[in-house]
Symmetry: C2
């Protein structure tokens, strides 16, 4: 007989999920109502307004996709790409690689611009690719690489794309609410994020925003979007704009209560204060790590404060150390991926995890397991 699951109380300092604030956990358990209930539709409008605030955009087509960040990514690619479209994809980590998969599975042609993992996207290489591919329709890049903790220069990449008349698809799953994400100022056309990073919410929902130019591109497609579930032409009928709400799929009601609460909290704190808190906690962690001889993978200029990719000290076994952190300290940090497996740890300071107690626990626990 299988019984109720009682999860342990962990401190989550990996690449996500991050610690979920008690207010958000409480919101998840509120009474379920219908997805066409007028009360729910009012909440949906608030979620859209709050997401516009988080993304710093006035895009009407700003909403939460009813599935994790990977589905938000897929929503951007399948809606904008038609068979044969050329897409320049910047690859400097796991999520750039996943973008390539999305392009080819959507029938597009991917032009790959590679940079070493741990480095930001090189704008010179991108400019060269745009010049040699004047027929490219889209430039796709990862603003905040979750696999390496690198921030790329989103403003410069968007400007290059505009200068070459390309649409921009931008991944900021780990960026949103941790560092500035200026969708309108930069001119990014299709942007996706996740709830389980700097929004401190549970995983499972992907906020997305599409510029008017992107929405127009979707409305004018010659071929149907290959995914029925992610077809924005249909999703728009439920999420608006406009008063009429046509049933498309059943929204994940309680998960959206959680997202709403996390966005209310972000608005209460204020975007700038949230960025400042992530930066302050990052500096505190960085200084503490330096004292115990742990250095960073990424150059200071390109580090995401919320995702600290650090070098595992020589002589320390990765799996053993992370196992001890989990079992002795209930602390989760992330493993390295790809070539960095066994060499790098990823320490998240995202959302509710970006606070003094967590930094202190992490430093104390690391001190204990690496000695």
């Amino acid at each position: 007989m299988i019984t109720s699951f009682k999860p342990p109380q962990r401190t989550l300092m990996g690449p996500g999920p991050s610690d979920v604030h008690p207010r958000i956990l409480e919101a998840l358990g509120r009474p379920t109502i219908g997805h066409l209930d007028p009360a729910f539709i009012g909440m949906m409008d608030e979620v859209k307004t709050l997401l516009q605030y988080a993304f710093q955009t006035e895009n009407a087509l700003t909403l939460p996709v009813s599935a994790p960040g990977s589905a938000g990514m897929e929503a951007c690619f399948v809606n904008l790409i038609e068979p044969g479209d050329k897409v320049i994809v910047c690859v400097n980590g796991v999520f750039g690689t996943r973008m390539i998969e999305n392009v080819t599975r959507s029938g597009g042609e991917a032009i790959r611009v590679d940079d070493a993992w741990g480095q930001p996207v090189d704008t010179n290489k991108v400019e060269a690719a745009l010049e040699t591919n004047p027929d490219a329709k889209i430039l796709a890049f990862v603003h905040a690489e979750t696999s390496t903790g690198v921030e790329s220069d989103a403003a410069a990449l968007c400007a290059l794309a505009k200068a070459h008349d390309c649409l921009v698809i931008m991944d900021t799953v780990t960026g949103l609410a941790g560092v500035p994400v200026k969708v309108d100022e930069w001119g990014a056309d299709a942007v996706y994020s996740g709830t389980q990073k700097c929004l401190s919410c549970t995983p499972g929902i992907s906020p997305v925003t599409f510029s008017e130019r992107a929405a127009e591109t979707i409305r004018n497609r010659k071929t149907p979007v290959q995914s029925w579930f992610l077809d924005m032409n249909l999703v728009m009928g439920y999420w608006g704009p406009g008063a009429k709400r046509a049933y498309h799929h059943t929204a994940p009601i309680n998960a959206l209560y959680g997202l709403h609460e996390s966005l209310v909290m972000l608005q209460e704190e204020g975007l700038e204060a949230s960025f400042a808190r992530h930066k302050a906690m990052h500096e505190k962690l960085r200084d503490g790590l330096a004292e115990i001889g742990i250095g960073y993978l990424v150059d200071e200029a390109h580090r995401l404060p919320q995702l600290n990719a650090v070098m595992i000290p020589q002589g320390v076994d990765d799996a053993t150390a992370r196992g001890r952190l989990l079992n002795e300290f209930n602390l989760e940090i992330g493993a390295g991926l790809g070539d960095f497996a066994g060499k790098v740890w990823r320490i998240g300071l995202m959302g509710y995890s970006a606070r003094e107690e967590n930094v202190q626990l992490c430093l104390d626990a690391l001190k204990a397991v690496i000695k």
Copy 2:
């Protein structure tokens, strides 16, 4: 300033979501842990075992898709269909129509077998379609049509498909836990359901199960699955079978706590007892409706006990009546779809909604608004 959302306390007797049991709401708010945490992976194994129980199957590839039922549907179609494949699709309601969309968007050719909405799928027509299309690869049908409350003869349809060497895709979003769903006995190859119906859980997750024959078909594809997010070759790497758990996407942790709890409750009650409860509540509702002159859309032999499509009495305005039920009784029932809009109500008795108090409330409230 937008503040926390406090939903009203409704009684949910529409086509889903159904009332969520307090134990499940409580489970949703338990502490979030990581998607690669050994404690979480233990819970995943339990969810798989419990889903096998619910689906009455030993299929190893039985798991919850991290998105609503529509995505579960899409997972079945995009994984089994390759461009040019012929699929016989039975259409007797909204969800059969949606299957057609899924076939064509996956590059398949849909052979449509229509029956009137409110009627079950006609096995003679299906047999004829199988005979005139010996090259068909798949037969797809809806076991329990949420749009009309009709149950089709799944055993007979699966047998026909087997006799003609076709794979079966079956929609039982509204069926699971409300009426018998015998995946192995019937020989259905790819089956999807939802959490927000007779499992009484919140919406957002889609349980699916694939037979070994379906899994083999997926492994031997000549073309990649068009959806990266739903590619079962990749999802299998995270959900097993096998001990190694490769990161694919971040699982919706807390939503899965809810599903786990709902499945534990189903196991405690027992499948047969759950079916009997749905049937008993249906009969009580039916008898009460008869007393106030409300009859059914569907013939008795093909009615789903958990979804009662009933005729709106003459002279009663649909929207006004449902508005009063919601505003005066906090009771949600469902509208009719398509040709049945304004003519039919859909009264759900699913999961935790299938209890005496709900039936009584519904009868009392209907009496008040139709007089």
